[in-house]
Symmetry: C2
Subunit: 346 residues, 2 copies
DNA sequence: TTGTAGGCGTTATCAA
DNA sequence: TTGATAACGCCTACAA
């Protein structure tokens, strides 16, 4: 299919009557090569339309300059923001980025891990699927000291650098805010408890309640996979409880959106009848009506940090046994969905 | 750094006292190998923790089973949806997906092309940057018959398979709808005219007007890069015109959102004073207030199609000289932002 | 049905 | 400062 074969360093070498090694070194700006020959080689390389074959180089150097990224779903603003940040840093550092999505399916996550290992990526950045409860599929990397960086949905039992926001504090602030707005019957739509972030958000919620001498709403703490339809089911369930909620803290914006849409349709007023806080600050949160209060999660910056960390690990600039969990700054953004009229915010 | 060296097919061969080629063949399910030895080899491969080295295989076969994807911005719902679709199909077909973002910068787009070529991707899926007016940076691929598939922001002068929506018809439907709502002074916020999609959307707009015997709003047809701030500038400019617009057709939802926010703030009513139609059906369009009328663009499906096409091209299942432009179905979604009360839709 | 030999394009080592 | 050689791990004619 390919017309002319690619020019290789051997072709250049032959042309100039030098050895392939000299060409290789010259093109890599190896200082051993004299300036004169280096210039000449580069010149001829351009004339001959030489294009380095990274694959061959990768095989030889056992380095691919490629980062693998596994996310649950590419097409989700938070995750695509993280990817965008990763790409930004990776590109500048000369790394390619290979993206895969687990679709929140543990099987697929495992298979992706296998594939990334087979293609010898230099490092992996990962946010676990909703189903992930074990980390054995990642031993492939940890056993061989291939750097692994987690973000957002981190796994407790893997020793690695991790990047999260303060989920506990997020849950605490969100719930405390609802309490300050006068709410007393606060429900929670949460994620699977195998993931630390959802445990933390739940615990923040519980803590805020207990600090205020309140109880969680009986039967009002639900856990699901936080999709749009999960949110829809959840709100229908909550609105059947003997004690109706006067507020809901949702563990993501997606479910909060389902709630808004359902309540709007039922002519239940937000925030007067039910106040609402989400989590993540997806772009729609700002413009939905009523605008959704939420916890800001700096996805792009998390991506920048993840890429920076993994590249430093790959370059051996970071201790291989000494891991840190980086907690990114977060913020409660108060909008209409939780702002009771007449209530003054301290 | 790496502790134990990886097991190779040679290790397995030595273990079983067969040749490496036999191992290679067995692992590839080559029918020449007897079932018995194949089973034994696979067995031992697992026991020894063998992991194929794709890099070596790639070098030998001159195939990487990798698709390169270049988009303007990963973190944009339409593009991340396309990527998601690409990944879905690619994964099932055994391809990895390498993603890069041009940030709408032509320089970066060129450099990415170089890098993708250097890493010998088997095919490239591309949506051009706002700045891209020439296609020479893609000769790298076209000269060597490396498949190239364009989507959305396609370049006219490249012979390749392309996937678009009917942008002309989108512009036509959007504008005609505004006319049917009684609007007569319709402005347009469009994209750079070097890109066919924005020319087509503009032409659709013009056609609808002329069919109705109307003129474009004087000074009311603007072109910019369609960011949030571009939209903001544009609406400010439009609201200073001697003849104010009573409707605006925006070439994307992002600028339409800027318009909504600005008008809301100025207490200008939508759609009573200014009706609005966007393009793309970003997720926020449905929930913003007022909900934004828009042209639906099936990003995920476009990604599926792009991946399918390029993989078929890679596998030689498609003629290499015979290219098609696939026009995906699109649809006008009418929401509050353009729905004048009392007006009945035909 | 299996083995042998050579090469994919680059780089590391050693020698000159 | 440069060259010769071998090797990275796999695959594929060709031979047996």
């Amino acid at each position: 299919m390919n017309t002319k074969p690619e020019t290789t360093i051997h072709d250049i070498a032959r042309e100039l009557d030098v050895s392939a090694s000299t060409v290789s070194r010259a093109l890599k700006n190896n200082p051993l090569i004299s300036e004169k020959t280096r210039e000449k080689i580069k010149q001829v390389a351009i004339e001959m339309g030489y294009r380095p074959n990274v694959v061959a180089s990768n095989l030889r150097t056992r380095r691919t300059n490629t980062l693998g990224v596994i996310v649950p779903l590419i097409n989700r603003h938070f995750f695509s923001s993280v990817i965008s940040g990763v790409e930004e840093v990776a590109y500048k550092a000369g790394f390619a980025v290979t993206i895969s999505q687990s679709n929140d399916d543990f099987q697929k996550e495992s298979q992706i891990a296998q594939a990334l290992f087979a293609s010898r990526v230099d490092g992996v950045i990962l946010s676990a699927s909703m189903e992930t409860i074990t980390s054995q599929h990642l031993n492939l990397f940890t056993d061989r000291n291939i750097p692994l960086v987690f973000f957002d949905r981190v796994l407790d039992d893997v020793a690695a650098n991790k990047i999260v926001v303060d989920d506990f504090r997020g849950g605490l602030l969100a719930t405390r805010h609802l309490i300050e707005q006068g709410c007393r019957h606060i429900a929670h739509i949460g994620g699977p408890l195998n993931l630390a972030i959802y445990r933390d958000r739940l615990n923040g919620y519980l803590k805020a309640l207990s600090q205020a001498g309140l109880q969680p709403l009986p039967e009002g703490v639900l856990h699901n996979r936080l999709t749009r339809s999960d949110g829809d089911e959840a709100i229908r369930q909550l609105m059947k409880l003997p004690q109706l909620p006067d507020a809901i803290f949702c563990a993501n914006d997606t479910t909060a959106l389902s709630v808004i849409i359902y309540l709007r349709q039922q002519k239940i007023r937000i925030p007067e009848d039910v106040a609402l806080v989400g989590f993540s600050n997806e772009p729609f949160s700002e413009v939905v009506s009523p605008a959704l209060s939420t916890i800001k999660q700096p996805g792009y910056e998390m991506g920048l940090k993840a890429a920076e960390l993994i590249i430093r690990q790959i370059n051996g600039e970071l201790s291989a046994n000494d891991f840190t969990t980086y907690v990114m700054p977060t913020e409660l953004i108060i909008r209409e969905s939780s702002l009771h009229q007449g209530v003054v915010i301290a």
